[in-house]
């Protein structure tokens, strides 16, 4: 009661009487009293609410101050904690290896790292390389040592594997028929006791450390020629070493850190991971003077062929005038190893979820890669498109730098390509010479952004159309009569043997003998004469100076062209209309050049070299250059062989070189 001092100046007595009077008044006025009470309660409620609100507000404000990086700065999409594998401190790995006629598998600590029970494939010796410190799989290979030469590949591979790695071997079906002594000795040197005596249809498993101990070996002999050995299952333990022991002690630089990351993950890349004098991963080729393609993005289209990609990127990064910052590698699928290769070289890589199947998958991958390239480099007017199975010539960028302005200025051009379909060892001669051709060779080419954005991208074949992108690009609806510029001697070399439309035989027949320029800094001649009209003048000049060959001889014979050097010769073949390539195809066949479809033509004219002479072939009467034919000369006609097989072969294999 005493605390109730609305006005301290007022005397207690007075206050009391005031209070009494108030009380009296209230007693008398029940209604008013009730009202006052209600008012007080209401006031109480209000203050309580305001108080609570204030407390909450201040608390929230204080909380916000603490958590200064408030919610709107949190990444909503990525709030899920990435599950991390527990770092195991285990020192011992349990390894299980199974070998049998129809199935092999390898399990490391209960995780299956290899399982192959598919029919009709995976025959031979399966090899797995484990990191001796982490137990991670670094490489997986299968060598079909039932077939010839595969044992050589295996020896090569085993020699590349670093000392100390854990090697696991297992045979599926048959692995000894073409396993020669060299290979057996290598296996013996790894500690295998059985390897020298492996024979027909034996089952065999082996786990050992390269240059060290043997963890286990099991073998089951085949009792008879017609039967297989009993399945064998090897269970063993492998002791892990410390990480330091498993790594090389390279000087601590940025490059070596990349190297270290790479070498601790994968095997089979040879000297790049050797502790002593590893091969460089930075090449620093000479810069190009006045490089017009320094700012042109380079898209490398890749699949899951990491060894190819490794070889390809080495040659690309060694080419003069290369700008690594403009290179992007597009990997079709979530493959780790190609990405490791990309990171080894410090380049940027992008993975693409595969869409559709077979050729359409490649085609969708191309589209995504090209679109992404122009998105990432919005200033670019061009993009260089490469594939993972190409070697790149040392003067690749020099070649493009000298010719790219044509693509910018000459509307009648479709592309610049580094590849001459007809440029074989025996048909290409002049590194400084360029041609205009009506076909689009691909295999290392330059695409104009406007062509892609305005014409190709909007109507690119959709995934359900199982088309080849390059065949589609060659269709008249797309090409619209435009031409590509190509060099006489290719600036790229197609080394891929494994691929979607590729096999060893095909590669041997059509790609192996392709000529590839190795001369640096080639100065191209008469680049200006490659423009639309200038080229016609140039052709007419050439035809005017050309000597006409003896049309009574067989053009397939070597003697058809005289034993001279540096001359220009012309021959005329029959070509009834623009699409009549009967004689040309036969001629191409006997000259051992590309004959699966028509390539390298320009208005019914082909240009190549024979015996170091420039050799022109004119199709009469379809070609406008037919007028150069003297009336006395009868164009040569060559009949196709009786069996018409070309028609089937063309679509099947023509697409092959895109792989």
């Amino acid at each position: 009661m005493d605390e109730w001092k609305p006005n301290p100046a007022v005397k207690p007595h007075k206050k009391r009487s005031w209070y009494l009077a108030w009380k009296y008044k209230l007693m008398n006025q029940r209604a008013l009293r009730k009202l006052c009470q209600a008012g007080a309660v209401l006031f109480l409620l209000v203050t309580v609410i305001v108080n609570i609100k204030l407390i909450l507000d201040t608390r929230r404000a204080a909380y916000e101050e603490e958590e200064e990086s408030a919610q709107d700065y949190d990444d909503e999409t990525l709030n899920v904690e990435v599950p991390r594998h527990p770092v195991s401190n285990k020192k011992v790995l349990d390894v299980e290896v199974y070998s049998s006629r129809s199935k092999v598998y390898v399990a490391v600590d209960g995780t299956t790292v290899l399982e192959d029970e598919a029919r009709e494939q995976g025959r031979g010796i399966h090899v797995i390389v484990l990191n001796q410190a982490t137990g991670h799989v670094m490489a997986k290979r299968v060598f079909d040592t039932y077939s010839p030469h595969e044992d050589e590949a295996m020896v090569l591979f085993l020699n590349m594997v670093a000392r100390g790695r854990i090697l696991i071997f297992t045979i599926k079906d048959e692995g000894s028929f073409h396993l020669k002594d060299t290979a057996k000795n290598v296996l013996k040197s790894l500690g295998s006791q059985v390897a020298p005596f492996l024979s027909w249809r034996d089952m065999w498993t082996f786990v050992g450390k390269k240059g060290g101990e043997v963890y286990g070996e099991k073998h089951a002999k085949s009792p008879a020629l017609s039967t297989w050995g009993d399945p064998v299952l090897l269970k063993t333990e492998v002791h892990l070493t410390s990480v330091e022991d498993a790594e090389c002690h390279w000087p601590d630089t940025e490059l070596n850190r990349r190297r270290k990351r790479f070498c601790s993950k994968v095997e089979g890349y040879g000297s790049v991971c050797s502790c002593k004098d590893p091969t460089p991963i930075e090449f620093n080729p000479d810069p190009l003077k006045d490089n017009k393609v320094f700012d042109v993005p380079v898209a490398v289209i890749a699949g899951n062929r990491p060894n190819y990609l490794y070889r390809m990127l080495r040659s690309l990064l060694s080419a003069q005038g290369v700008n690594p910052q403009m290179i992007t590698v597009f990997i079709d699928g979530y493959y780790e190893e190609p990405m490791d290769v990309v990171e080894l070289f410090g380049l940027s890589g992008i993975q693409h979820t595969p869409i559709s199947i077979k050729n359409a998958r490649v085609s969708q991958h191309y589209k995504a890669s090209l679109t992404a390239t122009f998105n990432l480099f919005p200033d670019a007017k061009f993009a260089v498109v490469l594939e993972e199975d190409l070697d790149i010539s040392v003067d690749f960028f020099s070649f493009l730098s000298q010719s790219i302005h044509l693509l910018e200025e000459d509307e009648s051009l479709y592309c610049i390509s580094a590849w001459n379909d007809q440029g074989y060892e025996h048909t290409a001669e002049d590194p400084s010479l360029l041609y205009r051709v009506e076909t689009m060779p691909g295999l290392g080419w330059v695409l104009r952004k406007s062509l892609y954005k305005d014409e190709l991208e909007p109507k690119w074949p959709t995934p359900e159309k199982l088309w080849d992108w390059d065949m589609w690009m060659r269709m008249p609806e797309q090409r619209k009569g435009r031409e590509c510029i190509i060099p006489d001697i290719s600036r790229s070399y197609h080394f891929g043997i494994v691929g979607l439309n590729m096999n060893g035989y095909f590669h041997e027949a059509y790609f192996k003998k392709h000529k590839f320029n190795t001369v640096p800094n080639v100065q191209l001649k008469n680049v200006e004469s490659l423009r639309k009209d200038a080229y016609e003048t140039e052709i007419h000049r050439l035809l005017g100076e050309a000597e006409i060959l003896d049309h009574s001889k067989n053009p397939c014979e070597d003697s058809f062209v005289p034993d001279t050097e540096g001359r220009v010769y012309v021959m005329f073949i029959r070509m009834e209309q623009e699409a009549d390539f009967t004689t040309w195809t036969q001629l191409a066949k006997c000259l051992h050049i590309w004959d699966l479809d028509v390539r390298g033509n320009h208005k019914g004219l082909w240009r190549l070299f024979r015996k170091k002479n420039h050799f022109l072939v004119v199709g009469v009467p379809a070609s406008p250059y037919s007028s150069k034919k003297p009336s006395s000369v009868t164009p040569i006609y060559m009949e196709p062989p009786a069996k018409e097989e070309g028609a089937v072969a063309v679509p099947a294999v023509a697409a092959a070189e895109q792989t």
Partner: protein, 460 residues
């Protein structure tokens, strides 16, 4: 007696709560005033020479950056604001400055910009930074330039760096070039494992939203004895900064849309898209040259929002312009660009609408928008009857976005804008559209007086 007690208790309670309330109000007030001041104010009081600390941190940072050949430029709004006041003086003078006028000004951060393509991401920089005593934080995220594409997964790109030394921090914003000839910086979003208290992130000037900028012209100046690059025209940069918010197209939703309604890949659709794109490019060039601010409206805006592309069956390109930005030279400028006027409805005071004939059958419509207190509207006119229509929109602001390789404006509150125009079912493609009855925000707005028809209904 009991009744008296009750009253007394009530009175007492009221009093205490009143006292309590006053106390809380007082506390809250003082708290607020403290919060609005610099957070380091307490620290500052304790330490002397705080001002030169900032300068030293910046000097160190610039040294670090130049030793790695990384070209950065100053975009700090506070300092640029100060610089802008005596820009003439700074441009001309080169000698030593008597006092630390700019870099010592009180603030928590100094913001610099970096063009992505001018440097190679290198680890060495951070190593040197650590040796110099900097703590640093890197914010990476998905590359938006690949976002629009199906299923491409690139390496995440760095968007922001923060270098902290003593009580000052440097915020380095990475700008990327994008299709449409503009620079883009990303939002700053912290991942879960990141240190939320590294710096007071809320106070950063960049990073709340992504932003779009023109490529700035740079100027090398000497400020407070430090050589630094700044935008040549700081005031226009600051102006740009205040309207820089960028909206990414909703690529994921667009993909879902195309799953539901497969894209029209017919030759006609391809052709129309090509024409619409080139028409839009021409229109954007023309309006930008005139300095007229515009945004994607109606069908074009819907195309952007719903499918990140031109709607192939929409037959025209629609732009919106605030009537206060109207310029008389719009019509001659378009005519000069090869787009003849097709019709002109309304007048500047009411329901203005221009329509230009593009190549092929594609037409460019420019609707002028009138601002009221609580809404924005544009008008429509039916030529044969002289009837007027009014299309009502809730108020909106403008954001940048990228559309068919152009940097253009769209309403930031796009969803409300589109729902006003197309109703809640805007996700469903409609091929037959009547501009007089289909929109859900159309209102009948009377008839033009017949004597005005010659003026307000002009058809060419």
């Amino acid at each position: 007696m009991q009744k008296i007690n009750k009253n007394v208790v009530l009175a007492l309670l009221s009093l205490t709560s009143l006292v309590f309330l006053l106390f809380q109000l007082y506390y809250y007030k003082s708290y607020l005033s403290q919060k609005n001041g610099t957070i380091f104010s307490k620290v500052k009081g304790g330490q002397s020479g705080q001002d030169s600390t900032r300068w030293h941190v910046i000097r160190k940072f610039l040294g670090l950056i130049s030793s790695h050949n990384i070209p950065v430029y100053l975009i700090d709004p506070l300092i640029l604001g100060l610089i802008d006041k005596d820009i003439e003086q700074i441009r001309s003078s080169d000698g030593p400055s008597p006092e630390c006028k700019y870099f010592c000004a009180p603030r928590d951060f100094t913001t610099f910009a970096l063009l992505d393509k001018t440097w190679k991401h290198e680890v060495g920089l951070f190593r040197t930074a650590e040796k110099m005593g900097f703590q640093w934080l890197k914010v990476i995220n998905k590359d938006p330039r690949l976002d629009g594409m199906d299923d491409l997964f690139g390496i995440e790109i760095p968007l922001h760096y923060i270098f902290k030394l003593a009580s000052h921090a440097i915020h380095l914003v990475v700008f990327y070039e994008r299709s449409g000839n503009y620079l883009w910086h990303g939002p700053l979003r912290l991942k879960q494992h990141m240190d939320r208290k590294f710096v007071p992130f809320r106070k950063l000037h960049f990073g709340r939203y992504p932003g779009a900028y023109e490529r700035p012209e740079l100027l090398l100046v000497s400020i407070d004895d430090l050589k630094v690059q700044i935008p040549k025209n700081p005031s226009s940069f600051l102006d740009e900064m205040s309207h820089s918010r960028f909206l990414e197209c909703r690529y994921r939703e667009a993909r879902a849309f195309f799953q539901l309604y497969p894209d029209d890949a017919s030759l006609d659709a391809v052709e129309f898209r090509k024409k619409a794109k080139s028409l839009l490019h021409l229109a954007v060039r023309t309006l930008n040259n005139l300095g007229v601010k515009f945004w994607l409206s109606s069908g074009t805006c819907l195309g952007w929002y719903r499918q990140c592309n031109v709607i192939p069956h929409s037959k025209d390109v629609d732009l919106g312009v605030f009537i206060r930005d109207y310029k008389a030279d719009i019509i001659p400028a378009f005519q000069k660009a090869g787009l003849p006027l097709k019709h002109k409805f309304g007048k500047v005071e009411d329901s203005l609408e221009l329509s230009f004939q593009g190549e092929g059958d594609v037409k460019l419509d420019i609707f002028f928008f009138y601002e009221e207190d609580d809404h924005i509207w544009n008008g429509g006119t039916q030529a044969k009857s002289g009837k007027k229509f009014k299309y009502l929109f809730p108020k909106f602001t403008l954001c940048w976005t990228e559309f068919v390789e152009l940097k253009v404006h769209v309403p930031c509150e796009t969803l409300q804008y589109i729902e006003a125009n197309y109703g809640p079912d805007w996700k469903v493609p409609v091929k037959t559209w009547d501009w007089k009855s289909s929109p859900s925000n159309v209102q009948y707005n009377g008839v033009w007086p017949v004597d005005e028809w010659d003026d307000v209904i002009q058809i060419y």
